[in-house]
Amino acid sequence: MPTIVVASPKGGAGKSTTAVLLGTELARGGVDVTMLDCDPNRSLSLWAERADLPDRISVQSDVGESGIVRTIKAFDADGQVVIVDLEGVASRLVSRAISQADLVLTPMRATTLDATIGARALELIAEEEEALDREIPHAVVFTMTKAIQSKQHKGIEASLRGQGIDVIDPPLMERAAFSGIFAFGGDLHSMPPQGNMDSARANARAFAMEVYKRLTGEV
């Protein structure tokens, strides 16, 4: 199954949130999703324990450096999706996961710090492509975006696009529902309403649709 690796060595960039929103939206769309929790802080596993898992989603906890390649291989089949959530550090585990990815997503907040540290993931991907002689599709997703985009946001986005980097539109907006999903577990449809749920659902769905298009080669 196509494997999506969510990677940025920057802590708190929005990796786990991106992974959960993407996984739950794809599952809602009828896709079987396996989530691999590779973060020793176990964000995804904690989310999974908060409430009943949505249909079509399973979570594998405690996947480490020595088991990552094997584990991805074990779940890699057509018609389904594997989503890998990593710790916000520069580790060999990150690079091994990227080596097995069909798509790497690098979430970043529109801050210079997130962009600078996030860029380390992009450099790593570029060189892995060379070493493994394989194209590794990748894209940046802005997270915690404000309704009115700052100058800084526009500047960082323009710079990335200028370097030929794929930036996913829409970004994931800053929303109470998106942080609430970890407190309540489940998905945007099962959790008690936090803020404007219709907008949150529409945002997550549109984002997931863009990722799906990249997996099927429609973008």
Binding site: L26, D76, V81, A90, R96, I98, S99, L132
Partner: protein, 101 residues
């Protein structure tokens, strides 16, 4: 599209094709080398060094009142024995008292 969500995204899972990826030890080594160069290093938790703790199968974990605990600790220290020795002795007395065995 799911019935309870008329605006849900309709996805064609048939289009989700996995591409071939090299999972050989050689590819892993190549990936590791690139990682090393970019400062993405081994952060797997280290195995504890030194002698392995001896197996404590069937170990008794007695929770007692703080005062009792202090008295047992003091007595054991004084006699230079493990606290477990005192518990063994106490157990022997208990059994004798109840005429167990």
């Amino acid at each position: 599209m799911t019935q309870d969500d008329p605006f849900g995204i309709a996805l064609n899972t048939g289009k989700l094709k996995s591409r071939p990826k090299d999972a050989s030890p050689k590819a892993e080594a190549q990936s590791d080398a690139v990682a090393e160069k970019h400062g993405f290093v081994d952060r797997a938790p280290r195995k504890k060094r030194g002698r392995k703790p001896s197996p404590r199968t069937g170990q008794v974990h007695a929770k007692v009142m703080p005062e009792v605990s202090k008295e047992i600790a003091r007595e054991a220290r004084m006699r230079g024995v493990q606290q477990g020795v005192l518990i063994e002795e106490a157990w022997a007395l208990y059994k004798a008292d109840k005429e167990l065995d």
